[in-house]
């Protein structure tokens, strides 16, 4: 694991996002209400640079006629095909669709009706140290 200073903390205020090149990889950084997230800037489904996607919640339903937008600010929606990834884990919430990828673990969140898919956006730990944003890569 190596640690990389990306920018000063005030260059990534709440509600903002930016990209940084770390170890030859482009990483997208988000500050959502003070929570910092860093993901590899490439959608594992179609290859889009996901940094420009919408930060949103997840639509949940217990059946037809019931629609709830929950966990607002916890998901990133890819700018191309709309695939949603949980910012905190990189986990895709779209359905698994290929045999090869089915071998991934599929987990079910308590109370959630959606099945997580096999596509996971690569995520890096990010911390503020002495007012600098630091990303840890593996």
């Amino acid at each position: 694991m190596s640690r990389h200073v990306v920018c000063s903390a005030d260059e990534l205020p709440p509600g903002s996002r930016r990209t940084a090149f770390v170890d030859g990889r482009e990483i997208a950084l988000f500050n959502v209400d003070g929570r910092l997230h860093a993901l590899l800037n490439r959608c594992p489904h179609g290859g889009a640079r996901i940094c420009t996607g919408v930060v949103t919640g997840i639509a949940q339903s217990s059946g037809p006629g019931d629609y709830r937008l929950e966990r607002h600010g916890e998901f990133l929606r890819c700018p191309w095909h709309g695939w949603e990834f949980e910012l905190a884990t990189g986990q895709s919430w779209c359905d698994p669709r290929t045999t090869r990828l089915r071998s991934y673990d599929v987990k079910r969140e308590p109370g959630a009706s959606l099945v997580k898919g096999p596509y996971v956006a690569e995520r890096f730990p990010v911390v503020i140290e002495n007012d600098y944003v630091v990303v840890e890569t593996r």
Binding site: T52, W80, T98, T99
Partner: protein
């Protein structure tokens, strides 16, 4: 020593032909300079007449993110209106050798006023050359025609066809009548004379019919799927109507309507053809033969079956020389060539789908 490395390089840098790129107007009045004064005044006074009740939006559940990639919005104008962005975001990184324009917005395809439809088509075609093809030599135009007024459509085809920067004739896959109807046949005669393929692409609500035979869809997921239903119905109409019997040189490209359904349609039609032959004595071949001889398919949005290799068997049936790569830039269901095919292909198959089939069909060089 170097051979494997070079081969790998060649695959990654393979030039592609993209058969579906959408140019947009940067400003609402962008076509005005291309209209004669009479129609310019008409446009400014009455506006364009889209075949639906609501003038500023599409009638039923369309579109997610206005139909666009959310990262394709330039600093000024709508997605698809900035040539430089198209170069940087798509043509350069994807290594597009030729990109075929599909001009959908405010062309003549959906206009009901016959003379105005002709004027708008003419303006759209001149605008494509002026704003896009002349500025960017990798781009090629499609001839927009007032398709519900075949006589005017023929005039427009004949005006443009000699110019090799136009490579096909565009028709909406949501026409007023199924496209096998004889009233459209003058268009096919003109296409055959010009040696240009017909490219069918879905538009808004041409003709005003619900987008399914069973009424309007409730969800965008349904609406997006019925692009397929339209294409199936039109393919059957072309074939059973005898269009390909009358115009043996006619080539039809189905853009953005999927392709995995093609074998099933052909098998079904063939089965019934054996029983209903007397009803359609004008057909000299089985329906599947017309399908495989006269129809091409573009890939985007490609079907993604659970077992990706299932597509290989389908393409084996359709023919590896019948499939053309398309991206649909800048729309939200854009397909990047590096990610859209999730099954292994031979180098020959890859070259055909990404480049060679389109080069031959559209006579690009």
């Amino acid at each position: 020593m170097n051979a494997p490395f070079l081969e790998q390089q060649a695959r990654q840098t393979l030039a592609v032909v993209d058969c579906d790129i959408h140019p947009a107007h940067r400003t609402p009045g962008e076509l005005l300079p291309y209209l004669e004064p009479r129609w310019r005044e008409h446009y400014q006074t009455y506006g364009v007449h889209v075949r639906q009740a609501l003038s500023s939006t599409l009638m039923y559940p369309r579109m997610m993110a206005a139909g666009m990639r959310t990262d394709a919005l330039p600093s000024a104008g709508p997605a698809g209106s900035d040539l430089d962005m198209l170069r940087k975001q798509h043509l350069d990184p994807v290594n597009v050798e030729f990109g075929l324009l599909m001009a959908l917005s405010k062309g003549g395809m959906e206009e009901r006023n016959p003379e105005f439809a002709a004027a708008m088509s003419r303006a759209t075609n001149d605008w494509q050359i002026d704003h896009w093809v002349r500025q960017e030599p990798r781009l090629r135009a499609g001839i927009v025609v007032p398709q519900e007024f075949p006589e005017a459509a023929v005039t427009e085809i004949e005006r443009c066809a000699a110019d090799r920067r136009y490579v096909q004739i565009m028709l909406s896959s949501r026409p007023s009548d199924p496209l096998g109807h004889p009233r459209y046949w003058p268009i096919y005669a003109a296409a055959e004379r010009a040696g240009l393929p017909i490219g069918l692409h879905p538009v808004g609500y041409n003709g005003g019919h619900p987008s399914t035979g069973s009424g309007w869809p409730t969800y965008y997921l349904q609406e997006h799927y019925v692009f397929v239903a339209c294409m199936e119905a039109l393919a059957a109409s072309f074939i059973v109507g005898g269009v390909f019997e009358r115009f043996p040189g006619l080539k039809v490209v189905l853009v953005e309507g999927g392709f995995a359904w093609a074998p099933a349609l052909a098998w079904r039609m063939d089965k019934h053809f054996d029983k209903f032959r007397k009803e359609v004595p004008h057909l000299k071949q089985r329906p599947s033969e017309y399908l495989r001889r006269h129809i091409w398919w573009t890939t985007q949005p490609i079907e993604e079956p659970e077992h990706a290799r299932h597509l290989v068997e389908i393409i084996d049936w359709i023919g590896w020389d019948r499939l053309l790569y398309s991206s649909d830039y800048p729309h939200w269901d854009y397909d990047n060539p590096s990610f859209s095919f999730k099954f292994p292909m031979t180098e020959t198959q890859r070259r055909k789908i990404f480049r060679d089939n389109a080069m031959a069909l559209y006579r690009l060089s």
